[in-house]
């Protein structure tokens, strides 16, 4: 095997098209995420980024086109099947088990891929191994204290971290991060950057992000969406220098793009 062989393709979309009546939200999108790739998806609000992620993870069915995971067509599969096959995701709005403890959130997500869910007599607390694994994952997202607190007692930033922990707990091959740093303080954003950097290289990451600091410090590929279409796709330098992209999105400089994103919920 030659070392310069390109890394294997994990995720691929082929002419992905989704419309609600006359409203086209994704227009024939071709996108590839390879092993180890950190792929950022940027574009103004309403560009179709989240709709694309929903179609990849199964929350939305495309009108036409295909989604392939490691070459297997998963377009018709349910979200739960896709998760089992290796697609993990976070949600733009925190989507957690709010009444459950932090540790139980992750333990429950981990349990999905373990045998033994059918046990209905032994308590969950007897499975020390699973609880230790949950703590290890929480450690990776830097949640180490107060793991018995209910989610509702966490700060917003901590809930964002837990959101990532839940996605990691499903042991994905491809991780979809939908605005992981939205609403985070600058210090929390830096932690999130470190966290994404520390993820195993075997993982492919597709990340929607508005914060250009995050995008340019993490991504090795950037795809720009504009009104449901791919405007440009390529390495960060090429995107930064692309006049069309500068025009529609980066336009008036980085600050504008960032502030707009911060203002949006």
């Amino acid at each position: 095997m030659s070392a310069d062989r390109p890394p294997a393709t994990l995720l691929e979309t082929e002419k992905l098209f989704k419309s609600f009546g006359n409203l086209v939200v994704t227009k024939n999108i071709d996108l590839v995420v390879r092993e180890g790739e950190r792929h950022a998806l940027i574009g103004p609000n309403g560009a179709g980024k989240t709709s694309l992620v929903h179609q990849v993870a199964g929350q939305l069915r495309p009108t036409s086109g295909r989604v392939l995971l490691k070459g297997v067509d998963i377009t018709g599969e349910s979200p739960e099947k896709r998760s089992q096959m290796g697609i993990g995701r976070t949600f733009q709005k925190n989507n957690l088990f709010r009444a459950l403890s932090v540790r139980e959130n992750v333990r429950l997500a981990l349990q999905a891929k373990r045998a033994g869910w059918y046990r209905c007599i032994q308590p969950t607390s007897s499975d020390r191994r699973l609880l230790d694994e949950a703590d290890a994952i929480l450690g990776r997202v830097r949640l180490t204290e107060g793991l018995d607190r209910p989610v509702s007692a966490l700060s917003y930033g901590e809930q964002r971290q837990l959101e990532v922990a839940l996605a990691l707990a499903s042991e994905p091959a491809v991780l979809l991060l939908d605005e992981p740093t939205s609403g985070m303080s600058s210090a929390e954003t830096d932690e999130m950057i470190d966290l994404v950097r520390s993820l195993p290289r075997s993982l492919g990451v597709l990340m929607i992000e508005h914060d250009m600091k995050v995008v340019f410090s993490l991504a090795d590929t950037i795809t720009v969406l504009y009104y449901g279409e791919v405007l440009a796709s390529g390495p960060p330098e090429a995107i930064r220098d692309n006049p069309q992209v500068r025009n529609v999105y980066l336009g008036l400089g980085q600050q504008e793009g960032t502030t707009r994103a911060r203002a949006a919920p």
């Binding site: 739960e80 989507n95 349990q111 209905c120 308590p123 839940l166």
Partner: protein, 342 residues
């Protein structure tokens, strides 16, 4: 909760202080908890054992309460733990009771075999009704489960030769246990109490188990459960079938106790009663619905001896409960216990 050290500076001292103090508390509570649980079980069993000494009327009432407690607790597995508001739970209670009485009256089959058959039949019925109903959620789910139960009721009314129609089916001969006939109120009571204790024990274990945690996860956030890889529909069906089987235990015991069954037992009003019991007692608690059943039936017996409009009293209490005590009777007990604190 445990105080956290305010700043970083005095960390070494306070950290060791807490580290030294905390394990003592943890060990103490961890050691006390199984003891307390054991004591609660002993008290409950002893209390139930003494009930027959209170005379036939009280024994019969407590027995009825325990049967409906099983029914309400099984419904709360759906409403309170899985987040499925079923309005047709009477179907499984009724089908099981009918199975026991029909097998006994028409084929002379012992009530004990009938008990097992009743539970099996309600499990199968629940699996079938669940298979179709869990495809929808919310109000459509509620309507569909109710419609299925009403369907079974109309069968029980029309199929007179087997079910006795609205007159009901009597002539069931109660079986005996170790030579003691269930015609004896006390024996009857102990059999019902054993069923109640089993369901209580099973539900408590289930809720704390991996399977139970999946049900709770579905209640909390179905979309996230799917994203985590859980085939949610399959687990809803498991919950529905389990709850139906447990209701079947209640129904079979009802049949052994009353030796009679009529189509009222499949009426939607009984499903509604069960929902009221669950809410009165405490949604999302294991034992709460049992207290709900007790409150409901004692109100019924006490108030109906004075007036025919006993449902008016139940309704008023229900409304007050929903407004002021959303966690029901057991919610009040819990918060009082928490306030008395350790």
């Amino acid at each position: 909760m445990t105080p956290t050290p305010g700043g970083d500076a005095p960390a070494p001292v306070s950290a060791t202080g807490i580290a030294a103090a905390k394990p003592v508390v943890v060990v103490d509570r961890a050691a006390r908890e199984p003891m307390r649980r054991f004591a609660a079980w002993v008290a409950l069993i002893a209390g139930l054992a003494l009930v027959p000494l209170t005379g036939d009327y009280a024994t019969g009432l407590v027995s009825e309460i325990l049967v409906f407690a099983i029914f309400a607790m099984s419904l709360d597995l759906l409403i309170g733990y899985t987040g499925l508001l079923s309005f047709g739970h009477a179907a499984f209670f009724g089908v099981s009771a009918y199975t026991v009485v029909i097998l006994g009256v028409h084929l002379g089959i012992s009530g004990w075999i009938g008990l097992v058959a009743g539970i099996v039949v309600s499990a199968i019925t629940a699996a079938i009704i669940g298979f179709f109903s869990i495809r929808v959620t919310g109000i459509p789910f509620l309507m569909l489960t109710m419609a299925f139960a009403q369907l079974l009721m109309s069968v029980s009314i029309t199929w007179r030769s087997v079910t006795g129609g609205t007159d009901g089916l009597s002539g069931f001969k109660r079986p005996s246990l170790f030579g003691m006939s269930l015609d004896d109120r006390a024996v009857q009571f102990y059999v019902v109490a054993a069923g109640f204790l089993f369901v209580l024990w099973f539900l408590r274990r289930l809720i704390a188990s991996p399977l139970g945690s999946i049900f709770i996860g579905i209640r909390e956030n179905e979309q996230r459960m799917r994203a985590a890889g859980y085939p949610v529909d399959r687990f809803k069906l498991i919950a529905f079938t389990l709850a139906g089987s447990l209701a079947g235990i209640g129904g079979a015991l009802y049949a052994l106790q009353n030796a009679f069954v009529s189509s009222d037992i499949l009426h939607w009003a009984l499903s509604g009663d069960a929902i009221i019991m669950v809410i009165l007692g405490g949604v999302g608690t294991v034992i709460g619905p049992a207290f709900g059943a007790a409150i409901f039936l004692m109100l019924k017996h006490v108030v109906s001896s004075h007036t025919d409009y006993w449902m008016l009293a139940v309704g008023a209490i229900f409304i007050l409960c929903v407004i002021f005590l959303p966690l029901g009777f057991w919610g009040v007990v819990r918060s009082v216990r928490a306030r008395l604190g350790k």
